[in-house]
């Protein structure tokens, strides 16, 4: 049991992909956490789940504590802890299937981790849900209470109109709580924590907390123009409501004008000026990658997650992309977490490099340290035959 919690001792097993059933069984039980530790973990999550996003300039923008993700018997990410200091460029590397993208998706709020937690600026955002089953009860309960009361009133009054009003109130109570549960405004979030319910952040919550991302396989909105792609990225920064849009209020017009100006700026920043009106799918491959970066930047993130930004690029495009990433850090003060296979990119621009292999962290340090680390060399090239 203990050796699974110690990544350094097991990860060198070169035949790990071909684990037999017994090993899988062992792995499954190995990640079981004893109840006391789980309770302590839950306490820690609940205590920090509504913390204000701190803005200490030298703090860690993201902290991952013992993050584990299992898919059935497969352990994709095993007990990974690491931090991203503000203003740095951190790279995540590892052979194919090492769990980099899974880890990325956990940070971006797409998967809930099996264990562990991730905090953004000291607020715990991503962790295994706690007592999530209680939440539906929470939004059905008011409707049931209102419904029962109005049923009594209807029986007493014996009047159809009262019945309609009662039914309407029940419906309204149900819809209000349902919509709150879906939209999760701040008051609702606090209410959940007070009731000791924790639900992991969704991707859009992470964007709101200041984390933007791109995808390994480009996921632009293909049939929208480049400008519209960026405008969608800006969605959370715009304030016009449905009412503003319908009645074309001055606020809506200001909002749209501001958004368009900013979109033009962003397109220029990534070197795509003049193609704003092109459909995204008609752009050349390299431009599509840049457009994805522009779209991610549109939400004004403080941490940018780039999943293989230079994949499939020729050397010139790659060096342009490196220059762009450097510019983002120096000009916009962004912190960047990067997954990349191109070692020239990784070694050239990273402040720190973290190496994953079979879901476990096998090394961390400056590019120089990592390059010389025998475990890293082994993971990439295999162990000496001796």
């Amino acid at each position: 049991m203990s050796d699974m919690r110690q990544p350094l001792e097991t990860s060198s097993d070169p035949v790990a992909e071909t684990r037999d059933d017994a090993a899988v069984e062992e792995a499954l039980t190995a990640v079981e956490i004893d109840p006391e530790a789980a309770a302590a973990e839950a306490e820690a999550i609940l205590a920090t789940a509504t913390a204000p996003l701190s803005d200490r300039p030298s703090g860690n923008i993201l902290t991952a504590n013992n993050v584990t993700k299992r898919f059935g018997g497969l352990i994709a990410v095993n007990d990974v802890s690491f931090t991203i200091p503000e203003g740095s460029i951190v790279s995540l590397i590892g052979p194919n299937g090492a769990g980099k993208t899974t880890f990325f998706n956990i940070i971006a709020g797409i998967y809930d981790p099996t264990a562990g937690r991730i905090a953004v600026r000291d607020r715990t955002m991503v962790a295994r849900p706690i007592r999530a089953w209680l939440e539906p009860v929470l939004w059905v309960a008011p409707a049931v209470v209102v419904g029962i009361i109005s049923a009594f009133v209807v029986a007493a009054a014996n009047n159809d109109i009262v019945g309609f009003i009662g039914g309407g109130l029940t419906l309204a109570a149900l819809v209000t709580m349902l919509v709150s549960a879906i939209a999760r405004p701040d008051w609702y979030q606090r209410l959940l924590i007070r009731l000791r319910i924790f639900r992991s952040a969704r991707p859009n919550d992470m964007v709101k907390a200041g984390i933007g991302r791109t995808f390994q396989n480009i996921r632009l909105f293909q049939n929208m123009t480049a400008e519209e792609n960026v405008l969608v990225g800006m969605h959370i920064k715009l304030e016009a409501t449905l009412f503003d849009a319908m009645f074309s209020t001055p606020k809506n017009q200001r909002d749209e004008a501001r958004a368009r100006a900013r979109a033009a700026q962003l397109l220029e920043l990534v070197g795509l000026n003049g193609v704003g009106g092109e459909l995204a799918k008609n752009l050349p491959y390299g431009d599509q990658r840049r457009l994805e970066v522009a779209r991610a930047l549109a939400s004004d993130p403080s941490l940018l997650l780039l999943d293989e930004p230079a994949a499939g690029m020729n050397p010139r495009e790659t060096s342009d992309m490196m220059a762009l990433i450097n510019k983002l850090r120096t000009d916009l003060g962004l912190t960047i977490l990067l997954i990349e296979h191109d070692m020239k990119v990784v070694m050239g621009i990273s402040d720190r490099v973290t190496v994953l292999d079979h879901g476990e962290m096998i090394a961390e340090g400056t590019p120089e340290e990592v390059r010389k680390n025998p475990r890293v060399i082994e993971a990439y090239l295999g162990a000496p035959a001796s």
């Binding site: 879906i182 909105f221 749209e256 009106g277």
Partner: protein
Amino acid sequence: MTARRLRLPASNPQLDRIRTLAGEHRSLAIVVAMVIAGIVLPILALVPPFSGFQQLDVWIGGFSNAGVFVLLALGLNIVVGLAGLLDLGYAAFFAIGAYTYAYGASPFTHLHAPFILMLVICAVVAATFGVLLGAPTLRLRGDYLAIVTLGFGEIVPIVFLNSDKYTNGTNGIGGIYKPDIPLVTFDLLNPWPFYLLMLVIVTIVMVLAYRVQESRIGRAWMAIREDELAAASNGLNTVTTKLLAFALGASTAGLAGAFNAAKLTSVDPGQFLSTVSFTILAMVVLGGMGNIWGVALGAFVIYTIQVVLLKQLNAFFEGLPFHIPLLSDLNFVQYQFLLYGLALVFMMLFRPEGLFPSQRRKRELHAADAASTEAGAAAALEESAL
């Protein structure tokens, strides 16, 4: 927004000026086009061969019935065309709007709320049910969503059919009060007030739908249609955005239901069978998904063909001095769904973007000949005057 920036092929400078003007003042263009259409339609009905088909009053009554389907198509366009949620049970919201009106303004409940107020109430009630029916389907997409909505479309009329005590079952609710708007008298023998009222409602809905479509909300819908995961990862709350699409689509159907109930002065479950849902969907697809003018025209043209021209086709073949095998014996009205089916098959094969497509879909499906595109608004202006 996109159309505005497209290069136009060199053509008539006067037409170009109209196009530019129409592009800059879209809402005004819609109002002007609707006024022109409102004047031209009755005149067309007086011109042979149309004048020979039926009397002017019958034409005018038919136009306002067509307006109901235009409204329905505009609403379904939001759900299917913009947000990409395939809804096969849309008639349910039509039914809910109609029954709400019947409850608010008929001897059945001894209530008589003012028409304008009832329009608002019907839209709100239908929107509420849009949210309620939308909520369980949020995780579904494509075929699965279609099947669930198909179920809802069946459930709603059956509920109205079977809850005898509250809905009068098969007989429906009769004696519904006609609209009461100050200074205008609505009676069954005079179709003109209904026609004008319909024009006003359709114009308002079109302007609002257009503005929402061009706002950040419309962009969010399109982004979800294109790639839901990427949309969430760019900060969109996909759940609320989809529910908003359901709610707005349903509220438009609610308006149509209210108008229809007030015009027919009775509602019964037989008016809201699944064929209505399919007809509306066929109208949206044939007209040109995603384009407000396209679906409005599609609905109008198809309704008119279905109700007027098919009958005329029968009369035409019967009136011929000689007998054509098959054609002279066919009752085209009975075969209308066969003809729909054929039309849909041929459309999908030869013009998948619909009769009056949006710029975007045209570019999407005919990327090769994108150069020959023309401005949507102005083209629609011409077409609407046909």
